[in-house]
Each structure stands twice: as structure tokens, then as C-alpha cells.
């Protein structure tokens, strides 16, 4: 199945012995000029002329623009608290996948050129000259971080490796070492409007197909509108929701909830993508550019509210950054949070009792829930801290009878990344993705064996795609990952749907 070993799962997590360089061969494809230029980056996948000066200049600029980077470069005491917290370290044992060692790749260059100690006593403080080898090492290991922030939770000073990774990737892109996967996708968003490069007619076609499918299934005409001016709600959802499994079942669920709640909504072809890979490459300008499409779409369509579909990093950008990047949102209805999470909306509908739910529809499954890192550690869903953990579970329990959490040290803000986040969801990093999934796979396997769990629900497009891919490597099946709104979709009984079901049942009985 693969030319590397799939890590063994254990009942309890095993902290590997430190090994040097076992993952140094891992690096994603470099972005050629066609993917660099549209984003404002130079080069053709090779270091540009004068790369060293450019690198240091850019690093200096970032230090002056990001307090996080400046502070984090200075204050690490090398206590080791983070060393066993990264899923990529746990899955590979590579020394440089320990968060502090990953940070040090940039920190040792920072020290050499920006600090007194590093300038005068480099050996003493572990400062090194910037060389091509260092650049290659950075390119490799800064693409073995999914920016999941688990290390930051456990750091006594809150040092967030994600901030360092983002800065490093941005600097690397500026010396010609951009990542093909992320940059190509961002290019598509700028040009077409979504990560997949789905043009408007294809999107319209897909949504029409969904309407037909749902009608066939339920007998109810549920609408999946596109570019409908004057709708109340603009739904911004990851483009994977339009066609990938199990994502699309989630989208079907959002539509049913909106239908049952009696609200008008629409998808926009201009902002037909919730994902914002500008976050992954650590580039403010690109992230802002992508966010502004949502502002433009909301204005053009004249909506009153914005709701985001199930997506992890997209929700981080939406919840934490959208107001900064594309606000102010004073033209929207101030009675609703901008933006709102689809689970917040559904949870509210459940509270108000306006959804007709038949939990037994999901009785054939026993669920667990995977907290997606960006939702868990970089955002909130409801009105109080920690609601990002409770609301998804509340919704799942409202539509399913069988639910068990995974081990406490692997959920909530201690959740393990799926292994494919942060711009790593690409086939050229498949070894890393499989190995990085180990801690989550371990926790899942244990709850399957101990509690009879059959399916894991998630609220992130990347998590869903990643698990679909890696579950089989760990002896499970790809359909064991489901969308939360897929569960809602199965359990919800729409008005008019019940009659027909009963009618059907009656005929069956009669026959």
C-alpha cells in the first residue's frame, strides 16, 4: 500500500525516542512561477537572486509587524513541555517535529542576525548562519506542521508554533520557495472563486442536482439557491461541500435545516469558498484578498446575515479574522453574530423546538466526535468560552442516540489534528499525513474497541478528506467519517416528508 511503514497503534500513546532526520526527505512540491506570480511571490521554485538578503529583510519586516513572532523568538526557555505534544512528532519520532525544534529552525537564524548573543556568541546560544541547507530544512519541516496550535496550549508562555510556521512559510515564499499546493489553490480562489476552480455554471448544476436528490429522497422540495439577491442568509461553505463525500451530505443537512427553519438563504458564486489558504501560507494580504470576496458578495446580494458551513480553518479566519480583514460589518443585521457558525444556527433551532427530529434514524451508528483544531483552539461557536466543544456534541446527541467521547486527553483543546491540516492535504505529503494521523487513529481505535463506536463525526472539510484517505491505512474504512450535518440530515423529518414515509410504510405493510 505504501513504501513506508504505517505506525502501530497502541492502547496508550507511546512517546517515541528522538530520531534525527527520519523525515527530512519529506517536502511538498515547490510552486513554479505560474503559481508564485499570481500571489505576488517571486521565483520559479528555486532560490531567487539575493535570497539571503531578501530572507533577512523579510524576517526583519515580519518581526516588526507581528508581536507574536517577535515575542516567541525571544522567550522560549527550552523547558521541553511541548516536545511530546505534536502529532507529527508522535507519529514520526523525528526530532525536528518537536514544536520547539521546529521553531528553532527560524529562531537560530533570528539569533544569529538579530540578537546580541547570537551575533557575538553563536555557538553558545545555538545560532547559525543562513545557508541553502537551512532553507531546505525549513521548507521541509515548516511543511510538517499543520498549524494546529496544540503545542501552544501546553506551553507555559503560550508560544504558538503555528505563528512561527506561518511567518517562515511567508518568508520562504518571498525567496522563491513557495508551496505549490496552497499557492495553486489560492490562485484558483482569486481567479474563479473557490479552491476547486468550480465555475458558476458547474456550481449551479451541482446545487440543482442536490435539490433533485433531496426531493427524490424525501418528497420535499428543499431549495439550494445560488446567487439569489435579497436572501436573508449568505452561506459560505468549503467548496468540498459541493461534491466530496461525506462533505456533501453535510451541505444537504444545512439546506434541510434552513428549509425547516423557514429562512431564505443563498450560496454565492463569487464567494463560493469558505476555505482561506492565505492563513496556511501566513500571508495577510492574500488572506485579506480572499476574505474581501465575502464582503463583496454580501453587499451585492444584499444579505442580512452570514453563516459558515462546517470547516475548521475557515471558521478560524471567519470567527477571529473576518471582522479585521473584511469588516466592518455594519451593513448586516446587528441582531446576529457576524459570521455565525452553522452549528450555532442549528443548535438554536433545536432549542426553539422547530426541528422535527427522529433520532432513531441514526441508531445504526454509534458516534464519536473529532474536535477540529482550528475550531477547538482558535475560535468559539456559541456565546461562551468552550461552546465550541459543547455545541457540536449537543447537536450530535440531539440527533443520535449513541455517542461516546474519545479519551479526554485527545479531545476539546487537547484534540489531535487529523494530520492533514494547515496546507498539507496534498498527495505529495501522504507519508506525513498518514504518520501524523497516528494519535487520532489510536484514540479512535480505542473507543471503537471499548465502546463500540462505529463512526466519527467532524466539522471540518480538511479533517473529513484527510480521514477518508487515512482511515483505510489504519484498518478502518473511509465511510467511518461523517459530517455532523449529515447526522442532522438523516434525523430531520421535514414537513410533508412524514406523510409520505408513512404512506410508503402503509403500502409496504399492505403489500
Amino acid at each position: 500500500m505504501a513504501d513506508f511503514e504505517i505506525p502501530e497503534t497502541h492502547e496508550f500513546p507511546v512517546i517515541p525516542t528522538v530520531m534525527e532526520g527520519v523525515m527530512s526527505h519529506s517536502a511538498p512540491f515547490l510552486a513554479k512561477e505560474q503559481f508564485q506570480a499570481p500571489l505576488g511571490f517571486p521565483g520559479n521554485g528555486e532560490l531567487i537572486e539575493g535570497w539571503k538578503e531578501t530572507f533577512l529583510e523579510k524576517l526583519g519586516e515580519m518581526l516588526g509587524k507581528y508581536r507574536s513572532l517577535q515575542v516567541f523568538m525571544d522567550i522560549c526557555v527550552k523547558c521541553g513541555a511541548c516536545t511530546d505534544k505534536c502529532h507529527y512528532f508522535l507519529g514520526t519520532g523525528d526530532a525536528k517535529n518537536m514544536p520547539v525544534a521546529r521553531q528553532d529552525l527560524l529562531r537560530k537564524v533570528y539569533r544569529r542576525y538579530f540578537t546580541f548573543a547570537g551575533k557575538h556568541f553563536p555557538k553558545l546560544v545555538g545560532a547559525v548562519d543562513l545557508t541553502e541547507e537551512i532553507i531546505d530544512e525549513m521548507y521541509s519541516y515548516y511543511h510538517q506542521c499543520s498549524e494546529c496550535r496544540r503545542c501552544s496550549v501546553f506551553c507555559p508562555y503560550g508560544i504558538d508554533t503555528a505563528e512561527v510556521t506561518m511567518a517562515a512559510r511567508d518568508i520562504l515564499a518571498h525567496v522563491g520557495k513557495g508551496q505549490k499546493y496552497s499557492n495553486e489553490i489560492i490562485g484558483k480562489v482569486h481567479k474563479i472563486g473557490n479552491n476547486l476552480g468550480l465555475p458558476e455554471p458547474a456550481l449551479a448544476d451541482t446545487l440543482e442536482g442536490l435539490e433533485e436528490e433531496v426531493e427524490e429522497d424525501t418528497g420535499v422540495k428543499v431549495r439550494y439557491p445560488l446567487d439569489e439577491k435579497g436572501a436573508d442568509i449568505l452561506l459560505v461553505t468549503p467548496s468540498a461541500d459541493f461534491f466530496a463525500e461525506p462533505h456533501v451530505d453535510g451541505l444537504i443537512g444545512y439546506g434541510k435545516v434552513f428549509h425547516a427553519a423557514g429562512v431564505s438563504w443563498t450560496v454565492s458564486s463569487k464567494a463560493s469558498e469558505a476555505a482561506n489558504f492565505g492563513l496556511f501560507i501566513g500571508n495577510y494580504e492574500n488572506m485579506r484578498e480572499i476574505s474581501l470576496r465575502i464582503r463583496e458578495a454580501a453587499k451585492e446580494l444584499g444579505v442580512k446575515r452570514i453563516i459558515f458551513g462546517e470547516c475548521g480553518h475557515a471558521w478560524r479566519v471567519a470567527y477571529s479574522f473576518l471582522n479585521t480583514l473584511a469588516g466592518p460589518w455594519d451593513f448586516l443585521d446587528p441582531n446576529y453574530p457576524v459570521p455565525q457558525h452553522i452549528l450555532d444556527f442549528t443548535s438554536d433551532c433545536l432549542d426553539r423546538g422547530i426541528l422535527n427530529i427522529d433520532k432513531s434514524e441514526n441508531d445504526w451508528m454509534t458516534l464519536t466526535f473529532h474536535d477540529s483544531c482550528n475550531v477547538a483552539r482558535a475560535s468559539r461557536i456559541g456565546s461562551y468560552p468552550g461552546s465550541q466543544f459543547e455545541i457540536p456534541r449537543k447537536v450530535i446527541k440531539a440527533v443520535c442516540n449513541n455517542f461516546h467521547d474519545m479519551a479526554p486527553e485527545t479531545i476539546h483543546d487537547s484534540t489531535f489534528c487529523c494530520g492533514g491540516g494547515g496546507g498539507l492535504l496534498t498527495d505529495d505529503l501522504i507519508e506525513l499525513r498518514i504518520k501524523g494521523a497516528l494519535p487520532r487513529m489510536e484514540a479512535l481505535k480505542n473507543v471503537i474497541e471499548d465502546k463500540g463506536v462505529t463512526h466519527m463525526a467532524a466539522i471540518c472539510a480538511i479533517c473529513k478528506s484527510q480521514f477518508t484517505k487515512v482511515l483505510p491505512y489504519y484498518g478502518m474504512t473511509m465511510d467511518q467519517i461523517v459530517s455532523v450535518h449529515q447526522l442532522v440530515s438523516s434525523a430531520i423529518i421535514l414537513e410533508g416528508q412524514g406523510d409520505e414515509d408513512e404512506a410508503e410504510a402503509d403500502t409496504e405493510e399492505a403489500a
Binding site: 528522538v18 518581526l63 516588526g64 509587524k65 507581528y66 508581536r67 507574536s68 515575542v71 516567541f72 525571544d74 522567550i75 522560549c76 527550552k78 523547558c79 521541553g80 513541555a81 511541548c82 505534544k85 526530532a95 518537536m98 520547539v100 525544534a101 528553532d104 546580541f116 548573543a117 555557538k123 553558545l124 546560544v125 545555538g126 496550535r149 501552544s152 496550549v153 506551553c155 507555559p156 508562555y157 503560550g158 508560544i159 504558538d160 505563528e163 495577510y284 485579506r288 464582503r295 477571529s320 479574522f321 471582522n323 479585521t324 473584511a326 469588516g327 453574530p337 459570521p339 477547538a376 483552539r377 482558535a378 475560535s379 468559539r380 461562551y384 468560552p385 465550541q388 466543544f389 483543546d413
Partner: protein
């Protein structure tokens, strides 16, 4: 005045200047550099009071470290608490008996706790050194400076303890020397070897503070992951350079 005393007077002033100047410089830098985005690690407090509480818990109890590694936590916490107690005990060298602080500083409890804290400090530091040497992960990430820093502070603690239990020094003259520094009325420093070792190591620590990882002390307050309020949807957060970008293209209007 002896040549030795003059040398130490100069070194003390230099050390104080470097310490205060260096830390001020760094703190001003941390204040000056903007945090362009809201990045608190969540769940995060939704009010400023909540953030103050979060930071207080980190500073007093080392909350996050407790979650990460019980061994590092216990050794680290013991060391820092002992450091604080030793600091209180040392106030007797800089507080004059007619100061309003004297009744507190001279309390038996302050003085004896401060004394025994020296042992706790050494225990904590040796524990941290042990982890650095024996845990392969921590060994891998350690630079020479990381070991030296621990040895430096162990040296300070041990030489301090020695003056209490082995070779006593003339603390009346020592206090006269230190008070003299504040009053610009310089006095002789006792020339006991252990005292000079103790003071020299403290001077080195002060010189190194603003250019080393000891910056974690002020830096802790500036980590946006911990000091930001979780309210990005309610309050628009915009850095000066973010605002400039907006002003340039007007697309947020």
C-alpha cells in the same frame, strides 16, 4: 576605598543600567510591534478581567505547564517560588531599619523562609538540569547556554547558602556597601571570596537577562495567544499597518 570595592561599585551600576535599560528596551519593543490579528488560544476569556485572571493563574501556578509535564512543573514551580522567597529575604540588604517596610522584611517568617528557600531552589534547579541531561527530547533541544544558565543560578544559590552555613561574611559591611550604592556614598565591600563569587554571578545574571531567554519573564505578558480577549466579532481589531492597507485600496468602506 579598596580597588576591589571601586570595581564592584562600577560593575553594580553597569549591571543595574543594563538590566533596567535592556528590559525596558525589550518591553517597549514588544509594546510597539502590533498584533495584527486576534489569536488567543481558545477557550479564552471574553473580558479583560478574565484575561488578567488567566495570566495570574499562569504566573502563580504555571497552569499550562502543569497540564504538560508534571516533573517540569514541580521542579520549575519550586525553583520560582524559592526565588521569590529568597528575594524577600534579600530585601534586608536594601531596606533601611527606619523604612516602613522594615517590620515586614525583618519578620522571622520572611527571613527563615528565605533562608530555607535556598535549598528548595537548588533542588528545583537540579531537577531541571536532570531533565535536560536525561530526557532525550529535552537534551536534543538544549544549547550550551541552557545548561550554563542553570549552572549560573545553581552557583548563586549554593554560594548564598554557603554564606549562611559555612563561611559567614560581614553582612553589616555588605549592607553599608549596598546602601552606599543607592545614596551615592560609596563604602567598602567585604572581600570574602564566597561573597565575591555570589555577587559576581548575580552581576553576570543581570548582564545576561535582557539578551537571553530570561526575557520569558516580561515576555509572558505580551504573548497575544494568552493576553488577548476573545471578542473578535464584537470589537473590530485593526493594526496600524492593517489600517494602512485598507486606506490604500478603500475596499473595506
Amino acid at each position: 576605598m579598596t580597588a576591589l570595592s571601586i570595581l564592584y561599585v562600577v560593575l553594580f551600576y553597569a549591571a543595574i543600567a543594563v538590566l533596567i535599560g535592556g528590559i525596558t528596551n525589550k518591553v517597549l519593543q514588544y509594546k510597539r510591534v502590533p498584533a495584527p490579528l486576534k489569536i488567543p488560544v481558545t477557550p479564552a476569556p471574553m473580558t479583560k478581567g478574565g484575561v488578567a485572571w488567566r495570566l495570574t493563574m499562569e504566573i502563580v501556578l504555571f497552569n499550562s505547564l502543569f497540564r504538560s509535564s508534571k516533573w517540569t512543573w514541580i521542579f520549575g514551580w519550586i525553583f520560582h517560588v524559592a526565588l521569590l522567597l529568597a528575594f524577600f529575604r534579600h530585601l534586608r540588604y536594601v531596606v533601611s531599619p527606619d523604612s516602613f517596610l522594615w517590620p515586614i522584611v525583618s519578620l522571622q517568617v520572611v527571613q527563615s523562609f528565605g533562608k530555607y528557600a535556598g535549598f528548595a531552589m537548588v533542588v528545583g534547579l537540579i531537577g531541571l538540569l536532570g531533565r535536560r541531561i536525561f530526557v532525550d527530547r529535552v537534551r536534543y533541544i538544549s544549547s550550551p547556554s541552557d545548561y550554563l544558565m542553570l549552572l549560573l543560578i545553581i552557583g548563586i544559590a549554593v554560594s548564598g547558602l554557603m554564606m549562611n552555613y559555612v563561611v559567614r561574611t560581614d553582612i553589616v559591611q555588605l549592607k553599608a556597601f549596598i546602601m552606599g550604592l543607592f545614596l551615592f556614598d560609596w563604602q567598602n565591600l567585604p572581600s570574602d571570596f564566597i561573597l565575591l563569587v555570589h555577587l559576581t554571578l548575580v552581576l553576570i545574571l543581570s548582564f545576561v537577562f535582557p539578551i537571553s531567554k530570561l526575557l520569558h519573564a516580561p515576555g509572558l505578558f505580551f504573548a497575544p495567544t494568552r493576553n488577548q480577549v476573545d471578542n473578535p466579532r464584537e470589537v473590530r481589531h485593526l493594526s496600524p499597518w492593517g489600517a494602512e492597507l485598507e486606506a490604500k485600496d478603500g475596499r473595506n468602506a
